[in-house]
Amino acid sequence: MNPAVDQLSVRVAACEGLTPFGDAAATSEALLAGRVALQRRAVLGRDGGDAVPLALLGPMDETLPPRWLAALRGLAAKIPPGKWGSPRQPVIVSSSNYGVGSLHAFTRDHDPRHVQHGTPFACVELLRRELGWGEDVQIFSHACVTAHLGLAHAARLLHAGVADRVLVFSFDFVSPFVAGGFHSLKILNGAMPAPYAAREIGAIGLGDGAAFAVLTRAADGGDGGVLAAHALHNEMHHFTGNQPDGAGFATCATAISEAARGRRVWVKGHGTGTLEAGRLEAEAFARAFPGAPLVSWKGSLGHTLGSCGLVELAVALAALRAPAKRIPGTVGSAAPTFVDTVALAPFDARAFDGVVLTSNAFGGAHAAMLLTHD
């Protein structure tokens, strides 16, 4: 067994998501219809700036209370009852933003109420009190692979016998803080993202997103999908670039392919719309999974940052649970693509019994998980 892979099967007993299209089922339906949530909006919100593609649940500017709180209350209402945050039913919160947007609001408006939820621990403390969780709330923060870490760690807690159920809760809401940052890096620009399209200019969009999953031991039974494996890798080659030979992508893709051996899988890729990373990712997964359809949904939903792994897991599960069992294609992209396995149009999930879901982050961080759905 590859030491970089955790093969600790856990059942997804419940999973739900929230995007500008609505819940996970509504999001899946919108993607199947080819709808794009991204709209060009001022990068710094009320302070203006270039128009860039953002998929938002409301105006981007920070509010008091923070704009994400009401949305998260609504999402949390769908979490199955439990003693969440108790020792045997811990909560793992994963995000890359937490309440950091409020720090920008504070430096702009000088209202000290903004800083009350500016750090990750203060943001999660607010959430914990609002949602009635106990004190056993663990916080991961690894940029855009964070949700994968939360899910992988939850599997470890369950298999070690130190938890009976684990709630993984993830959210990222766009703010001028983060939009301004990606705009300064020039990858959030005026162009709409076209994941895996071989074109001259790369571009990403950013999106609001939140999701949760309740994980139990696979042996506990139930009708949810099974998260069967996680692979992680950190290149540590460059802050914002990847090893030019694609070795980082290949390491993660190869590791998760070993866990998926014998299965007929499709691949939900990271696919933000950047050119170099998109090409390296597409090529690596085409080699590791010959013929497997590759899709990205960030051309519609935008990049939901540290939450993308869980938001897109929720969308995938919703698509698989729908009667039609149709998987949305790579909305917003077009031929020619980097590899011919990129699925631009929806396809039938019944030909497959697994999906590999991948995410990447700054520092050359790679994460992939295998969801089996037989």
């Binding site: 950091v100 750090t119 923060s141 700054f362």
Partner: protein, 225 residues
């Protein structure tokens, strides 16, 4: 019971008023020159603590910090309305670890960056104990803030530590032990003791002082040979 043994330990406790520039000068031999000028105080301290850890390619790493890249965050916020791309990427968790590892071009399979406050040490230790890699490095650290400190959003002091845990008892200098509570009878109420802070843990490591407390679903101890 879950147990791991301490096989390497390094604690960076700079003088109280040390600045990033002074740390850069003090630690300059530990980093490539090209990387040094862009490293933050926290990145320097974490990188220095990791310097002697004798990493292996299959090692895993857990990184714990409550406030992370405070100064880069402060400076990035100050760069608006023309945000700085360098400060943006430097402000993102877990930049402090990445600064040193990218400078040394040291890939690693699994990195678990954890944040939090009241139970951070417990969560970081539990993550390290559940890591199946033969060797797992636990890193922690903070840097001193300026205006964010005035609002309780930054550390009052700078420090960093690196502890290498393995499952090998022989020649270990210490051990960390977690005994989970029984699955039955839990109420969700915590009747345990306060978890040590990250700074408490750093001090205990530096002084090789034992720690013992009850929390996070069980009993914890750090003991020395």
């Amino acid at each position: 019971m879950i147990e791991r043994f301490v096989h390497h330990l390094c604690v960076e406790r700079p003088a109280a008023g040390e600045t990033a520039a002074e740390a850069r000068e003090r630690l300059r031999e530990k980093f490539p020159r090209a990387a040094l000028r862009r490293m933050t105080h926290l990145g320097l301290l974490v990188g220095a603590a990791l310097d002697d850890a004798a990493f292996a390619a299959a090692d895993a790493m857990v990184y714990a910090t409550t406030f992370a890249e405070t100064r880069a965050l402060e400076d990035y916020l100050g760069s608006f309305p023309t945000p700085s791309p360098l400060l943006f990427q430097t402000s993102i968790h877990p930049s402090a670890v990445q600064q040193g590892l990218i400078a040394r071009q040291r890939p690693l399979p699994r990195l678990w960056p954890i944040t939090g406050r009241a139970r951070l040490v417990e969560h970081a230790l539990l993550t390290a104990l559940l890591e199946p890699a033969e060797r797992c490095v636990l890193i922690g650290g903070e840097e001193r803030g300026t205006w964010m400190l005035d609002h309780g959003m930054a550390s009052e002091g700078a420090f960093a530590f690196a502890v290498l845990f393995t499952s090998q008892r022989a020649e270990a200098s210490g051990r960390v032990n977690f005994s989970p509570a029984k699955a039955t009878g839990e109420t969700g109420a915590r009747d345990g003791e306060p978890c040590p802070s990250l700074a408490d843990l750093a001090a205990a490591l530096a002084e090789k002082r034992p720690l013992r407390w009850r929390g996070a679903a069980g009993d914890w101890s750090l003991a020395w040979a």
